[in-house]
């Protein structure tokens, strides 16, 4: 597998494709949980069990204009493990359907999941060559690596290289850019704000904001502690007295508190109390609703003479 392609094509990938592939993979993975002892037909959709990481397969479609290839959409395909090929009639039927809705889109290639391109993928790649003479292979790596900053998506092209005197088709990696339509931008923005990238416990914007403030205050606290420790050491005589540092510390201390007046105290306490009261009210509502549910359940379970509610059958 060479590292960069020389075909000179520029690739543009839409986020819809990435989200679709990831959704396909997640669906299949969650449907095969627990791993079937009796393999049922629930895993029909092109899944190959390889140590708990099923691979999914599908086609990518889009437009090629001159040297720019833009991948707009994709659909899933069935994979036949016995012949190591994708289900051809299904593909053609799907292609027809998509042609009706998107007349400009062509099949540009196929996609799969995994950590790296494999030899067996070449079979599928060659099989698709009669639809598109130079298909693309989009690979999504589903393992979550928190340290990684880039998208785990790679696009491979096939090139004919001479290796050991035998011309062979090998996969070469190509670079790509992400292109978004307005609708895609909005949805990606929406998803990005809901879930923070570090996967922490902060579930909402407010919590994220407060966590930020909390960590800032924590850092301030630890730095002041360091200063305090230093000053105590200086007082005891362990550390030689340095007047310039002392001047700096004293000027720092004089910066806070920023305002000291009675009106400020008043307003500050009032606002503090307001926030506390709102929290109290929220807790109250939460508690009351839990209590209400508990009482309802208790009444249903244990009260002998309660009305047997229950709606009659709707016909």
């Amino acid at each position: 597998m060479a590292s960069s392609s020389s075909s000179g094509l520029t690739f543009k990938l839409h986020p819809l494709v990435i989200v679709n592939i990831s959704d396909h993979y997640t669906r299949v993975k969650s449907q095969t949980n627990p791993p079937p002892l009796t393999s049922t037909s629930a895993t029909v959709n092109g899944v190959e069990h390889q140590q708990q990481a099923p691979r999914v397969y599908g086609c990518v479609i889009g437009v090629q204009r001159g040297r720019t290839v833009e991948i707009f959409n994709n659909f899933e395909l069935l994979y036949d493990p016995s012949t190591h090929s994708l289900d051809r009639p299904f593909l053609e039927k799907k292609q027809e359907l998509y042609k009706k809705v998107f007349p400009h889109f062509y099949i540009l290639g196929w996609y799969s999941t995994g950590s790296d391109a494999q030899e067996s993928d070449m079979h599928i790649h060659k099989a698709l060559m009669d639809i598109n003479e130079s298909p693309l292979y989009v690979l999504l790596n589903p393992t979550i690596n928190p340290a990684q900053k880039d998208l785990p998506v790679t696009i491979y092209e096939s090139e004919l290289h001479v290796i050991d005197g035998i011309p062979q088709l090998i996969f070469v990696r190509s670079s790509y850019t992400i292109e978004t339509v307005e609708a895609e931008r909005i949805s990606v923005d929406h998803v990005a704000h809901l879930k923070p990238s570090d996967g922490g416990s902060a579930a909402t914007q407010l919590a994220a904001h407060l966590t930020g403030i909390h960590s800032a205050i924590k850092m301030l606290n630890s730095r002041i502690r360091v200063l305090h420790h230093y000053l105590v050491g200086m007082q005891k005589g362990d550390i030689p007295c340095e007047n310039s540092l002392l001047r700096q510390v004293s000027s720092l201390l004089r910066r806070l508190p920023a305002i000291e007046s009675e009106k400020f105290q008043d307003d500050f306490l009032m606002e503090y109390n307001d926030t506390l009261l709102i929290t109290y009210l929220a807790m109250f509502t939460n508690c009351s609703s839990t209590m209400n549910e508990l009482v309802d359940k208790f009444n249903t379970a244990y009260d002998r003479h309660s009305r047997r509610g229950g709606r009659t059958a709707f016909i």
């Binding site: 307001d274 109290y280 208790f298 009444n299």
Partner: protein, 424 residues
Amino acid sequence: MNSVEGLVTQIQGLSSTASDVLSLHNVLKQADDSLHAESTRLLPFLDQLDPSKHSLGYLYFLEACTAGPVTTESASSFVLIIARFISSCAAEQIRLAPDKFISVCKRLKDQVLFLEEPLRAVAPMLAAIRKLQSSTENLTTLHPEFLLLCLLAKCYKTGLSILEEDIFEVDQPRDLYLYCYYGGMICIGKKYFRKALELLHNVVTAPMSTINAIAVEAYKKYILVSLIHHGQLSTSLPKYASTVAQRNLKSFCQPYVELANSYTNGKIADLEAYVQANMEKFGSDNNLGLVKQVVSSIYKRNIQRLTQTYLTLSLQDIANTVQLNSPKEAEMHVLQMIQDGEIYATINQKDGMVRFLEDPEQYKTCEMIERVDSSIQRLMTLSKKLTVLDELMSSDPMYLGKVGRERQRFDFDDFDSVPQRFNI
């Protein structure tokens, strides 16, 4: 005789470690009947045992000794012995035989009541509660006995200290009813009407499968305290009260409900006439004192109603509207209410005018912050407990069985038939 002595030596030998105590417990359980048979001669053996080290054995002996009828001479000596035992016994050992301990304490209560000196048993009973409780949230059978003793001995403050604790676990429902009823009475005695209302409310809304006398009496007092504290009575019980209570309690307390109706009308003459007419009924329930307090509280209620209509009012007008005899009396009432914090007003003595003010609390102070903060913390612990209870209840098979039956036959979305019951 031999068996008893043998038992004594066994107790003395086997009381050192926890495993020994367990085997001793089994021995004692088997020897229980023989002990009861010899109950009259067991007293001298008690001196050979040390209550702090041999608590379990001492407990069995003591229970057998006191099993007989109560007489004056035995009562006073037993009271001393039991009191000393309770104060010095080891809590882990007596928790192995809780019912014996409870019956010993009940005998103590009977004996002091026989001697008509309930005060002597208040402190020992409090110590007994502390030793028997597994945690401060646990309600034992001794709690209502203790409160009864406090009531009879009129030392309400000790009773109040127990009432401060929140209860989360209850051994027997009857304990809860009695505890809250006596607790309500103690609070009424100290004029803490809010807490009394809360406790009596607990009795009235506690789960019960059939109506019981404690709930009826509690409901009568509940009506009266609600009138004194709130000035009104809610006509229906909340939905978490058992249906048995919701249907039947009112019919048992008819005179009180009518008293509440005439109270809310606000006419003092009618109220007093009604009270006079039903004096014996209230008296037979020992509620006469409370009823008199209700009548005197109607003046307060009417003055409070005035604060909602007027900004300033003269004392003469107050006296007329509230049907008091003179402006002097009106002034006394208003002054008392200002001191109790029930209204906010200023009296101008020069021209006899009263100006009603708003609540001056600005919610700006640090004390207010601390109050709200501690309330939030309490609510958080309560919320956690409630979530745990909710989850327990959701997985309760009785609940799941009934909920399955009540669901619709057909699901709207896909017309699949919904299972009628869950096979668990």
